[in-house]
Amino acid sequence: MFEQIKHSMETIAGVAMYPITSMLIFFSFFLGLAVWVYSYKKEKIDELSQIPLND
């Protein structure tokens, strides 16, 4: 099966870009997400989560 995948992958021009780009996209995406979330102050989070209860 792997041979088959390799074969169809090899026929795409510049395929080496794919895994590298994917890796970079994913790594930075989730790293960025983690940084966002943990950079919040506790009070801000509390304030945000109260929004639906304040109408």
Partner: protein, 729 residues
């Protein structure tokens, strides 16, 4: 700071709730009828527009777009106004959204039973309705973004993000999957063929589940569960992670619907990997929803609304665990094409969407009518009978799926199939079909109890009026980031930027998967012996599409010994290059038809379509008597159809197009001649000729009737490959 007074538009919410209830009953009634067809296949014998194949898409479309869709709009319109402290941007647009959506539903309810369908699952509606859907969806989007702009709450609560992602993604999916070339007002061909059509369709199909049935309902969960429990969501941080990772990963998972098909392997594997990854955000969301109830579990004991929410979220958890498991190739090999999938989708639809909607309705109606629910007891009864209904629906279907798949794959010691006759595997699961019909009926009874309870509540309480609210206007602050402001807080107050980022997140997956399959030719090796359909076969194929045959019959032989033994050589991507649209199917209530051509003679098919049970005792296929009607088949569009196909890359010559009608007659006369080899046919044919003469009716020769085109198509299926094998010998 100036405090502004304004009114929340409750009337639009009311309208959407009423539509939800009405179409919920309709969708479930049609579902009941469908379930009973399994037990009594000829329940509506001879009535084309009440046949199983044509009603199945009506059931799924009504459940998804009419019932779940209207409930979604009701919830979004209610919660968005309050979360943003603003009335909807435009009452006019709200009403266009409402009435436009209902018109689309009515159009679907008329066209689908008439057999006007593209046959692509959950995208069956023909092109004029597709355009209407796109327009109404844009109206919804403008109304939403307009409200975001005139809001009085600085921060966009997480529910709003889910609504934004829903709007953006459904728009992208709908447009790309509905690209079709019209032939007439009621007929079009998908611009994609075969493997590519399959990939785009399941990229759409899977993400319709993701972004129509899941993300908006998660938004509703993040609003209504805290409201009903009167406490904030368990972890707001988790909800941020939930949102971004869910929309980022979901979009990639579509190809898990095409495992072991002729789709290139790399795309299949990509689908599997992302499906497994989806467990994380899905369960993060489920846990976040359930833990919101921490400390109020005592209330769950008495409050039917919370009960509905708990089972809904649990159903979400079950379905989103099961989904990734079903995406594993070894599990998929068993489950795909069986009733297991039917169980899976109904856990999602009945528990997650249905119970979320019920909880919301029971919460909203008393609030908007400024009173209490007519009967909490009845709501509790609804909860229990609904839950029982789900269990009684899903469990037998799981058993049926396992039993049938095991029987399909069972071999004798001598290497032959133990259950070589497909029908044996159907007869075995009939009791399960009966139980399923019972489970569905219980669920419908619950729905009717809701109808009664809500009508009594509305009658007893005040009329639903717009609700006065006040909030300070938003102060203008800099468009850029304020000093010390982090990126995400900034993003949260910038709806446009948030929308763009969400769009980027969903487009990445789509582009990586779809573009190579469409652009890279070598992904679909050509097979020289594969030729376009003859004009008669093309007409037959359109009849196959009209009658919804694809709902029960796949055209996709997977590379398993059991399937190759039963159906013939496995599917190859190159076989489908002229299939606009693809007809691989997703369920085998009957056997696969990919290699059906030449397996039986024309008379077999003729008799089988007239009365399946006369050929195969115990078959649950309905008869298709209207294909035999004494009326000439409509072939007036054939030249246009062939020209459209040519535009899409099917190599029909000028000669073939100019002589299409002649070619049809040549081929159909041959089939009629073949039919005459059966003395019974000759006898009844002469009788019907006499009968027509006696009644003074014009007699249409069999060659000109629809059934002959259908036979021509079925006899063609899979024969291109067989031709190749012969030439080798």
């Amino acid at each position: 700071m100036e405090v502004q007074q304004f009114y929340y538009d409750n009337k639009i919410v009311k309208k959407f709730i009423y539509a939800t209830i009405l179409f919920g009953v309709v969708a479930m009634l049609v579902g009941r009828l469908e379930a009973f067809f399994y037990l009594f296949p000829n329940l509506t014998d001879g009535i084309s527009w009440l046949s199983y194949g044509r009603l199945r898409p009506l059931h799924t479309n009504a459940a998804i777009f009419a019932f779940v869709g209207n409930a979604m709009f009701a919830g979004v319109y209610y919660s968005m106004q309050r979360l943003l402290k603003a009335r909807m941007f435009s009452d006019f647009l709200s009403n266009v959204n409402f009435w436009g959506w209902q018109l689309i539903i009515v159009a679907a309810a008329i066209t689908l039973p008439l057999g006007i369908t593209t046959s692509k699952e959950y995208a069956e509606l023909e092109w004029p309705i597709d355009i209407a859907i796109a327009l109404i969806w844009v109206v919804f989007g403008i109304n939403m973004i307009g409200t975001l702009i005139k809001r009085r709450e600085r921060h966009l609560y997480v529910a709003i993000w889910f609504y934004i992602a829903t709007f953006v993604t459904v728009a992208v999916l709908h447009i790309f999957n509905s690209l079709e070339l019209p032939v007439s007002l009621t007929k079009s061909y998908s611009v994609y063929a075969g493997v590519q059509d399959a990939l785009v369709q399941w990229w759409y199909g899977h993400n319709a589940v993701a972004f129509f049935l899941t993300t908006p309902y998660l938004g509703l969960m993040y609003y209504f569960v805290p409201k009903a429990a009167n406490r904030p969501v368990y972890s707001y941080r988790l909800s941020i992670v939930h949102f971004w990772s869910l929309i980022f990963i979901y979009i990639w998972a579509g190809p898990h619907h095409l495992l072991y098909s002729a789709l290139p392997n790399w795309a299949q594997n990509l689908g599997v990997v992302f499906s497994i990854m989806l467990i994380a955000p899905s369960w993060g969301g489920m846990i976040n929803g359930l833990l919101t109830l921490r400390g109020v579990w005592d209330k769950v004991r008495v409050d039917p609304i919370l009960k509905f929410f708990v089972v809904a979220i649990t159903g979400y958890g079950m379905a989103t665990f099961e989904g990734p498991m079903l995406s594993l190739k070894n599990v998929n090999a068993i489950a795909h094409f069986t009733d297991w999938i039917v169980a899976h989708v109904h856990v999602g639809a009945l528990a997650w969407n249905g119970f979320m909607a019920y909880g919301m309705i029971y919460w909203l109606i008393p609030r908007m009518t400024k009173g209490t629910l007519y009967s909490t007891k009845l709501a509790n009864f609804h909860f229990w009978i609904g839950t029982l209904g789900i269990i009684l629906y899903a469990l037998p279907m799981y058993v049926a799926g396992f039993v049938q798949a095991s029987m399909w794959k069972q071999f004798n010691p001598d290497g032959s199939l133990t259950y070589g006759n497909f029908l044996e595997t159907v007869k075995e699961i009939m009791p399960m079909y009966a139980m399923r019909a019972t489970g569905g009926t219980l669920y419908l009874i619950g729905m009717l109890v809701l109808v009664y309870n809500i009508i009594r509540t509305i009658k007893a309480n005040a009329n639903i009026e717009d609700e006065l609210a006040e909030a300070p206007a938003l102060e203008k602050i800099s468009a850029g980031r304020v000093k010390g402001e982090k990126f995400h807080p900034w993003l949260e107050r910038k709806p446009i930027q948030l929308t763009i980022l969400a769009t980027v997140a969903i487009l990445i997956g789509g582009i990586v998967q779809i573009v190579p399959t469409i652009m890279v030719k070598s992904n679909i090796p050509t097979i020289t012996s594969v030729k376009p359909y003859t004009p008669l076969e093309l007409e037959g194929r359109d009849l196959y599409i009209r009658e919804g045959c694809v709902g029960c019959h796949s055209q996709q032989v997977r590379p398993f010994r059991s399937e190759v033994e039963r159906y013939g050589p496995q599917s190859k991507a190159g076989e489908f290059v002229y299939d606009h649209p693809f007809l691989w199917g997703s369920k085998r209530t009957g056997p696969d038809l990919l290699r059906c051509g030449g397996k039986y003679n024309d008379n077999w098919h003729f008799n089988h379509f007239w009365n399946p049970q006369s050929i195969s005792a115990g078959s649950i296929m309905p008869s298709y008597k209207w294909l035999f009607d004494n009326e000439p088949m409509d072939i007036s569009l054939i030249e246009k159809k062939m020209k459209a196909m040519r535009e899409l890359g099917v190599p029909y010559t000028d000669y073939e197009i100019a002589n299409a009608q002649k070619l049809i007659h040549l081929q159909s006369s041959q089939i009629e001649k073949n039919l005459h080899s059966d003395p019974d046919f000759v006898k009844s044919y002469e009788e019907s000729k006499k009968k027509a003469a006696a009644n003074g009716e014009k007699f249409v020769p069999m060659a000109d009737r629809e059934i002959v085109a259908m036979i021509a198509y079925i006899q063609r299926l899979g024969t291109d490959i067989k031709v190749k094998d012969k030439s080798k010998q």
